[in-house]
Subunit: 319 residues, 2 copies
């Protein structure tokens, strides 16, 4: 199949491209490279089934040759306000990727009678009041809050995907992605796994904000890609409804720090800092993956130890 | 001042135009007339301070002469799935008015260094779990629900307005409008006040769904316009935050029916029907107007009796 991947130069997007190429699909990546990197695709550049177009999907683009599948993955995705790649620094680009980008990508799918998949996010649940989060939980998101440029853009994108499905009969899929980590994350991404690994590989103590008891659910990239791939090619009648893909196993920051220090042989330990940043992640977010299990036969397979080991190897080469 | 009003041919928009013209402003209306009507502006057509452009604000438009204020009021707004003017029948247009329309209108405000006001909605609170709703309540909205084309479009619009305010320094205002009624509502709008008045004026019994104990808070159009006008010209430093404008007095459907039957002299009474429609309004929604009281010195002044009397007069002329 000929598959268009918007945001294909990003962390998730580039791994998706690897999988699609491995399955012998033809892949066309659209990416404006404001948060993605062409380094992530360097190994695919000369592949006969791969092509790259530097373009912002928030602006229209048209394809003459048939497209069979559109994966709309383009968006800034790091919540880090200190990173130039974080969505707090790119508010209007982020809103546009969610609204205009989704509209343009849906337009391509409609014109080509192609299947469409949106990568949405656990951020649609905001700072959740119920745990774990099922897909029918409507979330706790402040429309004018400091993360609203991302959360509301993704919620809007979901609403528009459903409108195209219901009104125009486009064959759509929505995946809500929880915390994911792995090779090719930006070294300066700002989220905890890259931060810890960079500190550990430099022999520094790992910075823990607050008590260190706050938990995250970390999904290794290969598990995530497997889930999205199954969702994309599932033919269940209800498959246009959102599906959570993430790891339901919770790990707190102290445990994570201890594993990373052990795997890297870092002896500098940890350093505590006060919590209380404006844009701090919610204290807790954990997927209910019943739907993914039942509909896709999917669940995460890769242990945190194994996933972190591969990620650390990749970071070593890039540091 | 030269004031651009998107959606100025709508129910709320046309009353806003009347007020602005009365205050000796120059008014330019943009409206694509898919849910608005040029009849609402017929009396202004030849006024020296008034002009009309038939245009869909979801597509870009540029102004050479200085614009001082942009009021972005354009959107389908009736939840009625049976009306051709209801947003359930116009899902993609509604999403675009919220996202593309707001973006284009903000672009005009930014280019002209104009003040900007978004008419948002109590629908951002969805089916609220707390009563009454204060502006800091984040709501209970299903991003893929049957009303999401409107609710998520308005939530997105608010997020984009805040992004333009915070990133580009645009001088913005957001009003969250609760149930409003008055002259010029579409006869076939589908909401309860026009439905009841049309039935009463035809001598039919008024249709009550379910028990008739569900309440609404009805604000008369003149009260609403006064609130928006004060918000627009307030200079408080915190005025860019959303402000609820609505009537906190709750009225149940039986009471409303009884007032309308009395004022119209309709002796046909009421007719009960089962409730349970998919798109039924939430059981209850009521504004906390503390912010409007404290910041704007505003509260509703017009009684339901007086407001309904004027509305009935207007409906009589049009039926």
């Amino acid at each position: 199949m000929r598959i268009l991947v918007t945001g294909g130069a990003g962390f998730l997007g580039s791994h998706m491209c690897d999988r699609l190429i491995a399955e012998e699909h033809h892949v066309i990546v659209l990416d404006n490279l404001i948060t993605g990197s062409s380094d992530n695709l360097a190994h695919l550049r000369d592949h006969k089934n791969f092509s790259f177009i530097q373009h912002n999907i928030s602006h229209p683009i048209y394809f003459g040759d048939k497209i069979d599948v559109v994966l709309h993955m383009a968006s800034p995705a790091s919540p880090n306000p200190d990173s130039p790649y974080g969505y707090p620094r790119l508010p209007i680009q982020t809103l546009k990727a969610g609204a205009f980008g989704t509209h343009n990508a849906l337009g391509i799918a409609r014109a080509h009678k192609a299947r469409f998949l949106l990568t949405s996010t656990s951020e649609v649940y905001g700072d959740p009041l119920v745990h774990p989060q099922r897909e029918d939980y409507v979330g706790n998101v402040d429309p004018i809050g400091p993360r609203s440029m991302y959360d509301e853009a993704k919620r809007f994108a979901e609403a528009m995907v459903m409108a195209y499905h219901r009104s125009h009969g486009v064959d759509t899929r929505i995946v809500r992605i929880f915390n994911t980590y792995g090779p090719r994350m930006r070294l300066d991404d700002g989220r905890v796994v890259p931060n810890f690994i960079c500190q550990a590989l430099s022999g520094q103590p790992l910075t823990i904000h607050g008590e260190g008891k706050q938990t995250r659910s970390f999904c290794y990239i290969d598990d995530l890609i497997e889930g999205i791939y199954r969702l994309l090619f599932s033919e269940l009648p209800e498959i246009h409804l959102p599906v959570n893909i993430g790891n339901p196993t919770e790990t707190n920051m102290l445990e994570l720090a201890s594993i990373i220090n052990r795997l890297t042989g870092n002896t500098a330990g940890i350093e505590r800092q006060p919590s209380g940043r404006v844009l701090t992640d919610p204290e807790r977010r954990r997927p209910d993956i019943t739907r993914a299990r039942e509909w896709l036969g999917w669940e995460p397979r890769i242990s945190l130890d194994d996933g972190l080991r591969s990620t650390i190897e990749d970071f070593k080469h890039r540091l």
